[in-house]
Assembly symmetry: C2
Homo-oligomer: 270 residues x 2
Amino acid sequence: MSDTGPGSASGAVPVPVPVPVPGHGHGYDPQAFPPFAVTVDLAVFTVRGATLHVLLIRRAQEPYAGAWALPGGFLLPRESAETAARRELAEETGLSMEVVDALHLDQLRTYSEPDRDPRMRVVSVAFTALVPDLPEPVAGGGGDADRARWVPVGEACAPAFGLAFDHGEILADARSRVGSKLEYSCLATAFCPPEFTLGELQAVYETVWDTALDRPNFRRKVLATPGFVEAVPGAARLTGGRGKPAALYRPGPATTLHPPLLRPTEGHTR
Amino acid sequence: MSDTGPGSASGAVPVPVPVPVPGHGHGYDPQAFPPFAVTVDLAVFTVRGATLHVLLIRRAQEPYAGAWALPGGFLLPRESAETAARRELAEETGLSMEVVDALHLDQLRTYSEPDRDPRMRVVSVAFTALVPDLPEPVAGGGGDADRARWVPVGEACAPAFGLAFDHGEILADARSRVGSKLEYSCLATAFCPPEFTLGELQAVYETVWDTALDRPNFRRKVLATPGFVEAVPGAARLTGGRGKPAALYRPGPATTLHPPLLRPTEGHTR
DNA sequence: TCAAAAGTGTTGTATATACACCCATGG
DNA sequence: CCATGGGTGTATATACAACACTTTTGA
């Protein structure tokens, strides 16, 4: 995708519809079907400091030139949406395909409002990805990544931020999805490095949910869920600065959380 | 969609790609984008007797002529996927647009494997819909519905049943999604008539999950969740045959279930 | 020796489960 | 009067939230 700019229907321009429109009622030309452009859009999240960030790219071309947008681009003729999403992600972040293939990618939903792209009919399959805080920031690596930046989701979601297309809506959907996913799936570990402390895992939950959690109860719940995390057997220590060294854990084999780890008091007594 | 037959890319035939393929690396013609056909597929569920059924349509044309498939069809040039899904649903079931507009439709996921349709590139947005056991069976109403039938999901999911395209996969995904949805959303009521008894609601859960539930505990959980159901104030009685008349309830304003109503012993102690 | 972070223990309350039991109706 | 399904009560076990407490490190 590179030069065309990110976002839906990047630098492309409408192309005449080759065969117009099948009839709606009975009996239309079976040779006809309306063609669409299909793209992927990615909401890539990470936790930096104590804030949830999303990866955005500054658009080079019209429409929305200069505005920020979610990374993404067209499907190639023989690519599935997920394959295209991984390819785009590798291009935009500068990560290697091996790393990207191991990442957790989740299909969010497909956005297909007729006027979501002012130029033409574009249907976009949106994905969410969760990545650990990358040692080297994505920007500055050369190529596409030069226009990429991590932005706190709070800022990016604000209407004033002016995300291109319907990416504000996509981002809001993705954010709320990530919040719920933490409740009933194990993928909070996707935000963590390969080995992590329970404190770091708790910080992920607290950042995404924007709530404080009770540490003793949190560790009990996590350790009581079989397969969520497993202790790193060898010397288990690593320090974030002061304080007692913490034991290290790895993601376990489980993918879903039974029972779920619910957010506290989400409007109800629980 | 009518005559072209249901399912992905119904009766249509490949159309030459007008502008071939943008480059993958840097610098390609921004005028170019690969066109795709976009369809919707619907997994429409209902509870009949004590069995979960899905609406299927027998294909009239190749490929997979004579095989069963999920209802669906092309997006019109200015339709969103959801609008198309509702239109197709109305056409295939013979229900009025007013009824269909009130139904609960849920986007499942988008299927985009390059060879999922043997003729051409078709990207399909799949939806699930939950409908009450319709007083008049959908088949026999004339039009598309003549080829429609309710099939128990157990049969339809079996590989030997030979669903067209990747509809077996879609149906399996949809089924498992419906099972989880009942845990944390209120939409079990979508399977029920506008006014229903708690016994009927419990039967929905038992049918979809294929488990027995404790009646007293079930009613307590349901009634303890604010906004899940609300009692019909007037004379509250209706009999399914013998036994004490049951109170009637309506769906409440809530959409999510906090705390969730978890399936018993899904491999764990809970 | 103090602050900070990790980790353990305890306790009151809320919730869930598994029943036993009563009510109203049709046959 | 009995079978069938609706509806209520309750004892026990369990889980969870809150918070006090100990441990181990850096400064």
